[in-house]
């Protein structure tokens, strides 16, 4: 039996196919349409999911949508009513969209499904799951645990912004919720907006900026914006926010509280923004820690699953883990709304259809390393690259691994395109740009010449799973790059007095460890452990790099430029090679050196994407 899960119409549309309870395929629409956070119905992702499984649309037994539009409409109306007459401007903007489109979402879905196969009565197969139940299902059912507490936190779904659920076997039930407008995700987004970044994509930047600052506004946030209880529950003081009634996140009262207007996007970052980022990060950490402690006490569980957009905050995740109230913490790699598609499908399978969880190896989750997307056969890669005019060497697998490891050791930036694409926002060694973590210049090279993004942004290390504790203060796997921990003390370099005295962005160029390219200014790192079982080629590459250099760590960033979705096809990858200062591309068994390529094919294209 097959269930197709869908998320769409808000942001990060995606499709996920579950066959007999196993996750067969999952992909985000943006990867196919090349439009970041694409919210349109995921036609391409569905077509790919069905094609990869070799099935026709009529073979789908159920389609599960990831949230309930009427409940969302109810929240909208009740919010406008509660704040009337304020909010008319927002109402004026939102109502046409709802009356023309979103209110008829069921019809819209059925119309789209009929285009797949007009002969099927899709209305009998279409199911709806609540937004936070979808998140919770994506976390619990995909996790390695038979019993666990499940915490989901995001901006907002229908009403819920934070949910606590209890999972056991095939059962999953939400036991407590915090409702809109009180939302830790929206509080974080308010600071994302206020510090001049884009809501819904700039939150990573705030998290990356935080270590440059001091949390000197944290107490002000706790005193005025959020009433945080000892059990982690909270209420926001809505006097300071504009998102219920206006078209911005914050209002004048908020701006007065923090001594000035929001930063203009793309303007110079100052110490103030860094301190604001550090402050909201500290408050988020505290909320997450208190919530997880109360969940542990309430449920008695020793395993915790996390999902929802806030669960992508790997700094807070690391603090929850180290707080020690749970033995194990598992975070859904597609914790944002794209993962809702997977969660809706899994919820339909287990809760609606009453099916048991399939057996799995002890301690293994069901995500297959998150490598659930498209892959390309060697012959297809060669054909596609030749059609693009690429010049390449075709090697055997070992030859490609050794040649790439040699290039890495020579401080080259490499596009690494192997196997199935990742599901979720992180590149995990299937569609990655990688570099030598030991190189002091790698961070700025990758930021400014390859990714065309802000120089302050840190890069994550990929480390062989068996070596993680020798290089980082972490004693367990972190395969999805969702845990932040410090570089091991023995690998750090002590700061001189002059270096210690540096402030903010000046800290950036100080070499802080044996792996400076992957060490943030506070010695932290967003760690990805690489496992031979789930990603053998990437594991072999880092092993070969280690054999040459003694270092089992490489820098890993997503294979794209700023504002671009991660590359999906060999053509996307070749375009990225020719449009940036990447030195080489290893794709399947093909190795392409930039210096070998026809210069006429070089074309910068980063301006074609809207800045995120």
């Amino acid at each position: 039996m097959r269930v197709l899960g869908l998320s769409a119409f808000y942001h990060d549309s995606a499709a996920a196919l579950v066959e007999d309870g196993c996750i067969a395929a999952a992909a985000q629409e943006e990867r196919f349409t090349r439009r970041k956070h694409d919210a349109r119905f995921p036609r391409s992702a569905i077509a790919w999911c069905l094609g990869s499984a070799g099935i026709a649309p009529g073979d789908i037994d159920h389609v599960a949508f990831y949230d309930k539009p009427f409940l969302k409409f109810e929240r909208l109306l009740e919010t406008y009513l509660a704040f009337a007459p304020r909010g008319f401007e927002s109402f004026r903007m939102a109502m046409p969209v709802w009356l023309r489109e979103k209110l008829y979402l069921k019809k819209l879905l059925l119309d789209e499904l009929r285009t797949l196969d007009p002969g099927v009565d899709w209305s009998q197969r279409l199911l709806f799951s609540e937004h936070h139940l979808s998140h919770a299902a994506s976390a619990f059912y995909a996790s390695p645990f038979d019993r666990a507490a499940v915490l989901t936190l995001d901006g907002v779904g229908e009403w819920a912004t934070t949910s606590l659920a209890h999972g056991e076997g095939a059962n999953l039930s939400i036991t407590r919720e915090i409702h809109f407008p009180h939302s830790i995700g929206l509080l974080y987004s308010a600071f994302t907006y206020y510090t001049g970044f884009r809501v819904n994509s700039g939150e990573y930047k705030v998290m990356g900026l935080a270590p440059y600052g001091q949390p000197r506004y944290a107490q002000r946030i706790l005193d005025h914006l959020i009433d945080l209880k000892p059990d982690g529950s909270f209420r926001l003081d809505m006097q300071y926010f504009n998102y219920c009634t206006g078209l911005t996140m914050t209002n004048d009262r908020f701006h007065q509280l923090f001594d000035g207007p929001p930063r203009t996007p793309e303007s110079l970052l100052t110490q103030r923004e860094m301190d604001l980022a550090a402050s909201i990060q500290a408050v988020t950490d505290e909320v997450m820690i208190r919530l997880s402690r109360s969940v542990a006490a309430e449920t008695g569980h020793r395993n915790l699953c996390l999902a929802g957009g806030v669960a992508l905050n790997c700094v807070a995740n690391g603090k929850v883990l180290r707080d020690g109230h749970f033995d194990q913490v598992w975070i859904q790699p597609a914790a944002g709304d794209a993962g809702g598609a997977l969660g809706a499908a899994l919820a339909a399978w287990h809760l609606h259809l009453g099916q048991p969880r399939p057996p799995r190896a002890d301690g293994e989750d069901r995500m297959q390393g998150a490598f659930l997307g498209p892959e390309y056969a060697q012959a297809d890669i060669e054909r596609r690259l030749q059609a693009m005019g690429a010049r390449m060497q075709v090697l055997d697998e070992t030859g490609l691994t050794e040649a790439t490891a040699g290039l890495l050791a020579g401080e080259k930036a490499i596009g690494w395109f192997q196997g199935r694409m990742e599901f979720g926002p992180r590149a995990l060694g299937a569609r990655s740009i990688i570099g030598d973590a030991r190189s002091p210049k790698m961070q700025s090279v990758l930021n400014l010449k390859v990714k065309f993004r802000e120089s302050f942004r840190p890069f994550a290390p990929s480390v062989l799973a068996e070596d993680v504790s020798e290089w980082f203060d972490l004693d367990r796997p972190s395969p999805y790059m969702l845990i932040v921990a410090d570089v091991a003390a023995g690998r750090r370099r002590e700061m001189t007095a002059a270096e210690s005295a540096l402030f903010g962005i000046e800290k950036l160029n100080v070499v802080r460890s044996e792996i400076p390219a992957a060490t943030h200014v506070d010695y932290s790192a967003r760690i990805q452990t690489v496992h031979a079982g789930t990603n053998p080629r990437y594991h072999a590459l880092i092993s070969a790099f280690k054999a040459r250099t003694g270092c089992p760590v490489v820098v890993n960033t997503s294979f794209n430029v700023r504002g671009e979705p991660i590359v999906n096809t060999p053509e996307d990858a070749f375009r990225c090679l020719m449009g940036t200062d990447i030195d080489a591309l290893a794709i399947g068994n093909c190795l392409l050196l930039k210096s070998d390529q026809d210069p006429a094919l070089q074309a910068r294209y980063e301006t074609t994407f809207e800045q995120d």
């Binding site: 009427f70 109306l77 046409p96 907002v156």
Partner: protein
Amino acid sequence: MSIFRELWRYMRARRKYWLLPVMVVMVLVGGLLVLAKGSAIAPFIYTLF
């Protein structure tokens, strides 16, 4: 018409009959806005709306 039937079923399921007049008024005002404006651009904070 099926949308009205579905909305009614939803209100019964949620026991939120008091939403009916709110919905009627808001839908009427919203409908006027649709006719007057002719554009349907999602607001800035699209996650919420």
